[in-house]
């Protein structure tokens, strides 16, 4: 027991070397943000909205983000649930496949996509949304997977089935409400990806928000910088709010704390 309480104390108060690491990391990550903020100036943030092309490019990106998110959830949620319940042997294969978009260069992917996509999709920007579903897989799948691991999925599904609910009802009325935090994380990460993806959009010749930032940068650099900083902060605040609220709710129901990709398994930790 002595070691346990000693460990807890150790974990509570960070020793000096951890402060040094976090300080160095803080300097590296915050100074560029500060430098950019100073360059953009406060006034640029006000004039972002009135900039030409801002509304139309952001509108396109938002539409792409909505489609991407809907398709991602509709595809990944049932697949993840099904694999967890029925085909656990496929879980590692699924994790292996969903990691691929991190390492496969988008610039290569778009070459192939433009070659094989049928004309009627290629002539619309929505081909991008369909490909963003692929790019979002690494983050979306892992967020959902972490949520599913934290549930006693088998028990609640059996309980639901024994009470006469079909598969659709179980998915919609039992699993979905229990996965709110995980799904919200998946959504925000997907939206962050779509709002920041430049490579495929620019090579597919559509002016999405990130492409507009680059084009507009040549005429009014300060406003472009302000716009990209805004996008960064807003996404981050959303993610933070989701995990804080999710953890609070999870605590109330006796679960572990919620982070993006890992959910605590209570019984193995000695720090609570």
């Amino acid at each position: 027991m002595a070691t346990l309480s000693q460990r807890s104390a150790e974990r509570g108060a960070l020793p000096i070397w951890r402060w040094v690491i976090l300080l160095v990391a803080g300097v590296y990550f915050l100074i560029p943000l500060w430098a950019a903020l100073r360059f953009a100036g406060v006034r640029a943030f006000g004039s972002v909205i009135s900039e030409t092309g801002f509304t139309s490019s952001l509108g396109l990106s938002v539409r792409l983000a909505i489609i991407t998110t809907l398709v991602t959830i509709a595809l990944m949620l049932p697949t993840a649930v099904y694999v967890h319940l029925r085909l656990p042997v496929l879980r590692r294969l699924l994790e292996g496949i969903t990691i691929l978009p991190i390492v496969i260069p988008p610039v290569v992917l778009i070459v192939g996509v433009l070659q094989i996509a049928p004309g009627f999709i290629k002539s619309t920007p929505y081909l991008l949304a369909l490909e963003y579903v692929i790019l979002a897989m690494p983050f979306a799948y892992r967020a959902i997977d972490a949520g599913l691991r934290a549930l006693d999925l088998k028990t609640i599904v059996e309980a639901s089935n024994s009470l006469g609910a079909g598969w659709a009802a179980t998915l919609w009325r039992i699993i979905l409400p229990n996965l709110t935090t995980a799904l919200l994380s998946a959504v925000v990460l997907t939206v962050a990806l779509v709002l920041g993806e430049f490579t495929m959009a620019s090579l597919d010749l559509y002016q999405t928000f990130p492409v507009w930032i680059v084009v507009n940068d040549q005429t009014s650099g300060q406003v472009s910088v302000a716009a990209s900083l805004l996008a960064l902060f807003v996404t981050w605040l959303f993610l933070l709010a989701i995990t804080v609220i999710g953890t609070r709710q999870s605590r109330r129901t006796g679960g572990g704390s919620v982070t993006l990709f890992t959910v605590a398994r209570q019984e193995t930790r000695g720090d609570r």
Binding site: I99, Q115, V214
Partner: protein, 317 residues
């Protein structure tokens, strides 16, 4: 103990790619019609996902690979591959590999240290949640905005450059240049370190407190624990994550283009220039041969990754 289960929510999952569906999901040994039907029914739930990945990821890759061996009229040729492995394109591959190695090992080490600092902080504290959510956002940050952040910071007249110059150490007098390979590495670390934090945290979570306590009870000091228990257990995961970062650095396009715009020949930028039409007509398929080359490099890295994760799976669950 079931040793095949992955660590919770792990991006860097043990043996992920290696465990091709074998005994349990493959067709049963007795090839009866009923058996095949039952098997089809079992895997029916993953069919939509399989179809989507095939159409959106696999087929485009196949199209690139096929295009690499075609001339403009569709006939078979080796000339694209030959061009892609000579001269400026070969140089591009080398530069890309050197850059990716630097931009995966360095952020790998820093990311591990930061992840460990986060891991040892109490669960649910603000520090932890701020750090992890920030990692999720910064890992997706890149392109011109990122390039700009660093021009404003470490450019010739950037903020940090001026501070350092005031202290008597102007990095530009000591061979540093933001638009050189070293400069690009510094910039890439801005999204690579957060990615490392995200992928290595699950492996750290897999370290059992019980192991440390057992080691301490046997008289081990902190160093002994890391030398004989923690280090060996973490090493395969760490190397696997570094390989993942290697792939991520290799495939980066937007940031490199915004920052260097041709000063360093990188393969991803060369492929992009084929798409942008900045090349002599009749050579479009060289871009596909370059793409094939990148995919082969990635495939080699991923094979090593799989082998390493198999080892990691032995201990981390």
């Amino acid at each position: 103990m079931d040793q095949t289960v992955a660590p919770p929510g792990s991006l860097a999952d043990p043996g992920a790619l290696g465990s091709v569906p074998g005994a349990a999901s493959g067709p049963p040994a007795k090839l009866s019609v009923l058996g095949i039907l039952r098997w089809l029914r079992r895997v029916a739930g993953v069919v939509p996902f399989g179809v989507y990945v095939t159409l959106g990821l696999l087929l485009p890759m196949v199209a690139v690979a096929v295009g690499a061996f075609q001339n403009n009229s569709g006939g078979f040729t080796f000339s694209n591959v030959k061009a892609a492995t000579h001269g400026v394109y070969l140089h591009g591959f080398w530069q890309s590999i050197i850059l990716s190695l630097l931009a995966s090992v360095l952020p790998g080490i820093f990311g591990l240290l930061i992840a460990y600092a986060i891991y040892t902080a109490k669960r649910g504290t603000v520090l932890r949640q701020v750090a992890i959510t920030a990692s999720g956002v910064f890992a997706n940050f890149g392109g011109v905005p990122l390039a700009f952040l660093f021009v404003a910071t470490l450019g010739a007249s950037g903020l940090a450059t001026r501070w350092l110059a005031d202290l008597g150490f102007n990095p530009y007098d000591h061979g540093f240049n933001l638009y050189s390979l070293a400069g690009v590495v510094v910039v890439y670390m801005y999204f690579q370190i957060p990615l490392m934090v995200l992928v290595i945290l699950p492996a750290l979570e897999g370290l059992r407190p019980a192991w440390r306590e057992a080691a301490q009870n046997l008289g081990a000091r902190t160093w002994d624990y890391w030398r004989h228990v923690g280090g060996p257990v973490l090493l395969p995961s760490f190397l696997g994550c570094v390989l993942l970062l290697f792939g991520s650095a290799l495939s980066a396009y937007a940031t490199a283009e915004a920052l260097t715009s041709g000063t360093i020949p990188l393969t991803s930028i060369q492929i992009g220039s084929f798409l942008n039409g900045n090349v002599i007509a009749g050579q479009e398929n060289i871009g596909k041969a370059l793409g094939l080359g990148m995919v082969i490099i990635i495939a080699i890295a991923m094979l090593i990754y799989v082998a390493l994760q198999r080892r990691a799976a032995k201990w981390l669950r």
